[in-house]
Symmetry: D3
Subunit: 335 residues, 6 copies
Amino acid sequence: MKKVVTFGEIMMRLSTPNHARFQQSTSFDINFGGGEANVSSSLAIMGIPASHVTRFPDNDLGSAAINTYRKYGLSMQDVVRGGDRIGIYYVEQGAAMRPSKVIYDRANSSFASLKPSGFNWEQIFEDAQWFHFTGITPAISASAAQACLEAVQTASRLGLKVSADVGYRSNLWKWGKKPNEVMPELIENCDVIICSKGDAEDMFGIVPNDEKKSFKSVCQQLTERFPKLRKILTTKRGQISASHNTLVGKCWNGFEMLETKQINIPDIVDRIGGGDAFMAGFIYGEIIYQNTQKAIEFGVAASALKHTIEGDFNLSSVKEIEAVMNGDVSGKLRR
Amino acid sequence: MKKVVTFGEIMMRLSTPNHARFQQSTSFDINFGGGEANVSSSLAIMGIPASHVTRFPDNDLGSAAINTYRKYGLSMQDVVRGGDRIGIYYVEQGAAMRPSKVIYDRANSSFASLKPSGFNWEQIFEDAQWFHFTGITPAISASAAQACLEAVQTASRLGLKVSADVGYRSNLWKWGKKPNEVMPELIENCDVIICSKGDAEDMFGIVPNDEKKSFKSVCQQLTERFPKLRKILTTKRGQISASHNTLVGKCWNGFEMLETKQINIPDIVDRIGGGDAFMAGFIYGEIIYQNTQKAIEFGVAASALKHTIEGDFNLSSVKEIEAVMNGDVSGKLRR
Amino acid sequence: MKKVVTFGEIMMRLSTPNHARFQQSTSFDINFGGGEANVSSSLAIMGIPASHVTRFPDNDLGSAAINTYRKYGLSMQDVVRGGDRIGIYYVEQGAAMRPSKVIYDRANSSFASLKPSGFNWEQIFEDAQWFHFTGITPAISASAAQACLEAVQTASRLGLKVSADVGYRSNLWKWGKKPNEVMPELIENCDVIICSKGDAEDMFGIVPNDEKKSFKSVCQQLTERFPKLRKILTTKRGQISASHNTLVGKCWNGFEMLETKQINIPDIVDRIGGGDAFMAGFIYGEIIYQNTQKAIEFGVAASALKHTIEGDFNLSSVKEIEAVMNGDVSGKLRR
Amino acid sequence: MKKVVTFGEIMMRLSTPNHARFQQSTSFDINFGGGEANVSSSLAIMGIPASHVTRFPDNDLGSAAINTYRKYGLSMQDVVRGGDRIGIYYVEQGAAMRPSKVIYDRANSSFASLKPSGFNWEQIFEDAQWFHFTGITPAISASAAQACLEAVQTASRLGLKVSADVGYRSNLWKWGKKPNEVMPELIENCDVIICSKGDAEDMFGIVPNDEKKSFKSVCQQLTERFPKLRKILTTKRGQISASHNTLVGKCWNGFEMLETKQINIPDIVDRIGGGDAFMAGFIYGEIIYQNTQKAIEFGVAASALKHTIEGDFNLSSVKEIEAVMNGDVSGKLRR
Amino acid sequence: MKKVVTFGEIMMRLSTPNHARFQQSTSFDINFGGGEANVSSSLAIMGIPASHVTRFPDNDLGSAAINTYRKYGLSMQDVVRGGDRIGIYYVEQGAAMRPSKVIYDRANSSFASLKPSGFNWEQIFEDAQWFHFTGITPAISASAAQACLEAVQTASRLGLKVSADVGYRSNLWKWGKKPNEVMPELIENCDVIICSKGDAEDMFGIVPNDEKKSFKSVCQQLTERFPKLRKILTTKRGQISASHNTLVGKCWNGFEMLETKQINIPDIVDRIGGGDAFMAGFIYGEIIYQNTQKAIEFGVAASALKHTIEGDFNLSSVKEIEAVMNGDVSGKLRR
Amino acid sequence: MKKVVTFGEIMMRLSTPNHARFQQSTSFDINFGGGEANVSSSLAIMGIPASHVTRFPDNDLGSAAINTYRKYGLSMQDVVRGGDRIGIYYVEQGAAMRPSKVIYDRANSSFASLKPSGFNWEQIFEDAQWFHFTGITPAISASAAQACLEAVQTASRLGLKVSADVGYRSNLWKWGKKPNEVMPELIENCDVIICSKGDAEDMFGIVPNDEKKSFKSVCQQLTERFPKLRKILTTKRGQISASHNTLVGKCWNGFEMLETKQINIPDIVDRIGGGDAFMAGFIYGEIIYQNTQKAIEFGVAASALKHTIEGDFNLSSVKEIEAVMNGDVSGKLRR
């Protein structure tokens, strides 16, 4: 099978154990995560060949990050080493009405200071079928945006499917340009995006133009503006508490709004990476099932399972996800 | 008070801490468990003299197993040492819609290779009032089945109450005979069994013969086939998620189907051993209350509490179980 | 801003990790707590200058206690050293229908053997606006009761607001006098108390005298008996399970019964100190908002958040509490 | 084989993990220990039937203590329940030139408040061959001293060997009498004591009366004063650092001073209980080898191994101790 | 660079943390190890392409083993899945004069039941320069011995360097043949072996035939018997205690006995895998330095560093090993 | 007593537990440290009033840092909040011949971007007697160097003793100026410095000018160049291994070279901060003993004890340090 390639920053994630607050914790659990690598590592675990492209400092922390993904079968062969530091994000796990908190410390990371010339995209995309990136990458630095554009254009030219999670992060985009100066050129090359109503407004200035302020009207405008776009995804998360959410997945396929049943996600272990697990599940579904309704159902089931697993990415097998997709949410003991 | 004796394999249980997946855990918590010893150790903790009979390798792991039960007051004086290894089962604790997973590694254990002649049942049953075993024991090996039969026949002859959990385990029974070639002779000697509809079919080929496919009709056929049987127990478990179950206990006493109220079991800490805790509670109730309705109510309360405790057996006192039995499920702080 | 002063025993709290039972735990987590210091430390964390007065042994455990509070900005400058030991309380964390258990070992503590002359209350109350104590302090020993009376009278004379949590602890009051011989003189000097129906009967022999057996009628009698009293608080805790409570706060202000909406508290991490967090929140509200309705609403929000935090006191910021007070209980991830 | 009986207080031992200081530790490891139970539990682990007599509070901590010893095969059948609390001692593990620190909190324990009438010594000593106690027991309280005297006299009358570790603890003996008013009557009934030069002076006012200030001259005076005494033991500990000691064992047998070779004890894991392990080893040697030179050699080897084991008592088998006794201190991997 | 291939069983290693005894530990740390994979994973960490061939059960534990090695860059692409279980070995970490203990539970493992036809050695050795195995593999089962012979013969035929650690394990070799019926045919194909005097006698019946009973005379006989042999390695371990060893490496190159200086290894963290780290270091030295004296010096330095690292294989970089090889054993802080 | 003030960066220190390598650790222990705050916190623990001046980001990690020092009694009242991030340093604890490794990630920290105008030195030095800084501070950034100069000049003008640890850090000094352009102006205001031979050359270009290349000749040149200098300290560390060092302290007082006995430091728990503990001990000695020989002896004893304690600063009491200073390095158990 041809591989899926992702491109983006991976941060070291330092999280307090057992719901401890930052003020009281005496240790951090170490994980690694990034919106794009979360997708490709989940795919690798599901048996889809996948490779992630990023840049790490040439120290033991960079090596530890590489090893972590290699462990789960994600190819790190195209990772570049250099720069000063690995970005960090700190997580305080919430509970009930107390939200989880994230503190970012990612400025001046090895990824932010990457040199676009360091990536030979033609070679990276050899034997690849899909390229995925997120709106975080162009938000990090001018050079990251530049490398991302080169990747997208090369992927598109070579005939890969291109997908993007356009999620807008207001605490980034500090390098000089605004999202709407950068994102359109990237999205023009995309076949699939995941994009909420808010993202559409923040990134492209698109607002619902019908009475119901519907997501559908946003999708219609998006496909008009970006003619290559075939599918627009979104998820609707119900926030009952930090420990209890619900999720629905949707996909506008150009004709109709496909939608999953709502899945109940109680007793959350770790909510982070839930959206990336949905995206990975969707890509799996598109590649294997070749059925978009099934792809979003698989994506939502994958996302639900991710919430029960510590860490950024989804350590669930296809078999496990399919069981949930097929309605078995009883958690019945497997002997 | 005369003691309760149980016979069966005890395995070392290695479980991942904090809901970790097997793929990510760097340590295992050590517990010991087995369907029969779970019953007798729970009884010992409730103050009923109890003794467990099994076989362990003559190494530090066998000794650690013995010490663990001795700690809680269960007599291990009739344990035999020998053979090659202690059986193991690995547990990955699930959460929400993710099931807990069990991997068994029990083949060729010291128990499986036991010699029936190694057990002097007459002496073991001195000063005993009750013998309990499960359908797992005869499923393990020919010699285990043989020893079990000798135990059951001796117990019956000496006038002990005999009970069995007939639970069918499809991944065992690999030693040559089928359950229905072995189990009937064992159950003929029983006064009490715990047996689901599925077990009755798998073990004895008995299916409901009334329109409603009722458990009652199964019970009636069972008591016809096994005239010594006085009571047939079952539990009905509602599986809302890996972290949330419900439980009802039932007992056919030859005349009517006694039934408990449904108990709600949210925020499950460890579901394993829940059935054994019910059985232990039932035996306690029969011995102390001499009232079958109360016995199943006490059994269900005991089982519910077991779900809040890490490990295979029920570290709950009679007083605590009675509080739950009497309806106090508020979990109100005890100062 | 003028400071809030509290007076009372601080115990070392030794609790089993991960819901373990006392019988199975191999370690204790160390925290410190006491009904009064829980209030002042929460206030210090909210930015209100606060000081706690108590007595610790002159050993490393006493020093560790002092350091713990100093860490969170509570002044310990008026703590006295001496006596034989720090009182201890052991906590076994419950789950679902299994209650948390507390074992006290506080007799003969340094606090119980304090000398009233060791406290220069005039000096302690310099630059203070509020004094808070609880019914536990006079229950501990004759000398503690004596010191408490001196503190209350001095505070009252100097014009500080005086508040008390009159909570009756049946396992204390062993030093010779009964609550109703001691408490009235203390409460006479109070402006605010937190007092349940049960406390009112145990402490003052006051029972509802209307048909509905209402708390309001208790309040009316209390204000008649203690003319200085301006506000009487209580909370109504719904005990769904050890892991799930609900809470309502009420305040009789002499004219009407103010009441908060009920807040839902699922997935409890640590229930201990919930009442003290309410009291701290109320004092904060009175000082900053100068609005009693808002004060009880802030108190209930503070209490709810406390339930999500390990340890006796409330590591929540004003901003976090206000978010909950304003209805955001979604626990939505804060990036 | 007839059993060995010991009598004395057992405390809960709370120690900081990983050499942490009291000021920085956030948890305590839980062990139990007491000079006398350390001896009998070590004997039980070596396969000598042994029983310990003490008094515990009737709460979960008392039960946890009982369970801990039962785990290792020590009989707790004659333990009495009652009183207010279990005594505690806190341990901060040192390293290199930093000493380990112990904080005692044992006043008013269940043992200290025991009632001598609660122990039926004739029945306790049924089927016993040896009684061992220490100088700590009579130092705790008048009633403990009284019970100890009754035990010693009964044991002596029934023909048991009686041994004592006379070790003087200056921070006890607060109940009114001085050691030299109490100890002589106890030691009169002893066959064997462990007693350093300092103990002999503190307890009996005996000082060396020869030029060399020799321990031998102390022994000669002791045997003169206590004619029943047959053997006087002592150990000589070399304190190179908190992590490195040496040990020599000595025994005056009435004729000559037997002495072991010095054993080197580097990389100490836990030094506490080293002396008790020596005593247990000596008793084992006397019973099994019936050779005093071998008994002290076994005792020193046992003590050395104890230093490599966390906790108060010696989890070493006879085979392991004999290997060290026979000179194998290479620590060579056992496959 | 061409790769190094190893073949042999990998076991799950379960070890007690913090020097705990099996009797007291409540958890096991999880590592994986095997004499051959220890060599190839160390090489991979040093940057030499390496691949390990083995057989794992098709369950989560087999996958966890694969992931562990993949993490460190060792290729697992030729691993076969099947069979019933992963072999286990339990480790109790010793200290000072207390030896570490190992309990094996490896019978009936997936490796032991491998089918020789499952391995396509020609394909496995494509692009390889070196094949390494140990005397453990043929000792496990007839089929393992058969597969090993096929591997050795193929490697030799294809011109790979072949090396073996002939170490005799007395607790294996239970499948019917004796070492001297099996090993000679394997060693005939070897260029390099590591073989102690004892191994030579156990495996080949070769004893020193000179007056000094020298290892040299053993080597001379070995090279006579196995003409392809070019180098015979051995290490001399000084066992001061479980926590302190010394090491010397030797190599008979057909002409002279090369020898390293003795290296001091105090404060041992984990002694297991020390010999395999030496072998890996030697192979590195032969490939990169092409200088046998330097190769054994690098091997001894690598082995010394391994003793400071938890787990079976050597997480040391070439740079770190070279520093030790060049005499820097000061452990001076690297900022 | 007047206080000691220090100024410099505090970093969050993330260290691997149990000697784990960065590649294998799954968690970091959290401590905080900095060469200057290590001195003042040690002084605060010894009972000397002390205050540290630094700049932290206005987030939970900055607050956690403040709380950590407040816990130990160090005043943080003059800490400024602002900037982007807290600097980090990662520690991998070595063992034996494996060095501990440090990875710095401190660029762009809140301290590096401080504004000199943010510190009101006149007010900060009110009621102060001593100001201490290190050569790290001016190496961090131009603004840090500027603030340091203002502090030093103000302190000198106000008559405080000024001391500096001039230690040269080659991986800093990236902001444009070289040490010898900056340091002389700072040292001109110092009364006491700690300065090795290497530092003298790196910072001031001073090399020994006598035959023996003596430190004394360096000191003489230093005092000539900086006439205000009264005392020049240095330590001589013997590096036997990562776990075993020796230490000697020296002080040139203008007339003679005072020197301590060498202290042996085996079984090192944490070597970091050893030099700062020496400096703190020296300052204590100068203030309290007013005797320079005793001051360096106290300093060396303090430093030795620091090596037995996890974390950057010295949790030792004066009494403990004096015991070591007086020769008690036996580590004998303190009951």
